[in-house]
C-alpha cells in the first residue's frame, strides 16, 4: 500500500517541550539535536504530552522513523518542512492512527512537534510515505510573546 497524505486537512503544532527546546537552543542552554524521530499515534497528541502519552503502534515491526536528521528539515521563511521523503515500511497491520509526533529520541524522549490527521488512517502492511514538503510547521509571529518586566 502506498499512502499519500492529504494536503491542508491535517494540522500540527509546537508542544510545550518543543517550545522549551527551541528557546533552549536560542539562548545556548542546549544544542539542536542531530536527528528527529517521527512517530505515529493512535491518539492525537496534545501540546502537553510526553512520549509516554503517545499510543504508538504495538506491532513488532513498528519503530519511529529513523534517519530524519535535523538537516533533512528545511527552513523556509518562518516554516519548517521535511526536505526528504519520509517512509514507514510495515510488514504487518499497524492499526489505526490519528496523530503523529516528532521526537528527539528513538525511544522515550520529548515530543517536540505533533499533529493530527483530519481523518483516522488505517495502516496495513506496506509503505507509508510522507513526501518532501508534506510535513510543514509554520510559525505565527503575532502569537509569540516576549516581555521585559518591571522596566
Amino acid at each position: 500500500m502506498t499512502y499519500t497524505p492529504p494536503t491542508l486537512d491535517t494540522f500540527g503544532y509546537l508542544t510545550e517541550d518543543g517550545a522549551n527546546y527551541l528557546l533552549g537552543i536560542m539562548v545556548g542552554n542546549e544544542s539542536c539535536v542531530d536527528r528527529y524521530y517521527l512517530a505515529l499515534s493512535a491518539v492525537v497528541p496534545t501540546v502537553h504530552n510526553s512520549a509516554e502519552d503517545l499510543e504508538e503502534p504495538q506491532a513488532a515491526d513498528y519503530a519511529r522513523l529513523p534517519g530524519t536528521a535535523a538537516i533533512d528539515w528545511m527552513a523556509y521563511g518562518g516554516a519548517v518542512f521535511n526536505d526528504v521523503d519520509l517512509t514507514f515500511t510495515a510488514t504487518s497491520d499497524w492499526g489505526q492512527v490519528r496523530g503523529w509526533a516528532l521526537l528527539d529520541s528513538p525511544a522515550g524522549g520529548r515530543v517536540l512537534f505533533a499533529g493530527f490527521f483530519a481523518e483516522p488512517v488505517e495502516l496495513v502492511a506496506g509503505a507509508v510515505t510522507y513526501p518532501r514538503g508534506s510535513l510543514a510547521v509554520a510559525m505565527s509571529v503575532m502569537d509569540w510573546a516576549i516581555s521585559p518586566e518591571g522596566t
Partner: protein, 142 residues
Amino acid sequence: MAGFITSDGAVYLARLATQRVLPPAQYWLTLTRSVPAPFLSTEELDEIDAPDYARAPIAADGLSWAASGTTVANTVEVLWGVPGADWGDVQGWALLDSPQGGSVLYGGDLGITWTIGAGMQPVMAPGQLNLSITVSSWALEI
C-alpha cells in the same frame, strides 16, 4: 509589557531547529524611541541615535538564561552604557543578533515612556527579560 517575535525571529528559530544556523555567542538588546513592528528590518528600528549609545549584550552561553516551562529569562544584568548626554525618551525594545545592523528577532513595548537622561545608566535586572513561546500559535499542515 507585551512583546512579540518578529518575522525574522520566526525564520531564525526555524533555521536553528534545522541546523541552518548556529546561535551567536551573544545577543544584543536595544532601546527604541517607538515600539517596533513585527516585520521591521534593523534599518527601520527607531533606535536611540546618541553618539555614545550602543546596544547592550547578553550572552547565549547556557548561563545567562534560565528556563521555566515555555519561558526563558535572563539570569544576569543587561547593562547599557552610561549616557554622557540625554538619550531622550524610549518606548520600545528589540533583541538582535548583532551589535550593529543584524536581524530583529524580537520586539516589544516597554509599556511606559522611559526618559533616559545624562548619567542614568539603563539596566535590565535578572528575571526582567522573559522570552516566551505560545505553543498553540503553531500550525502544521500535512
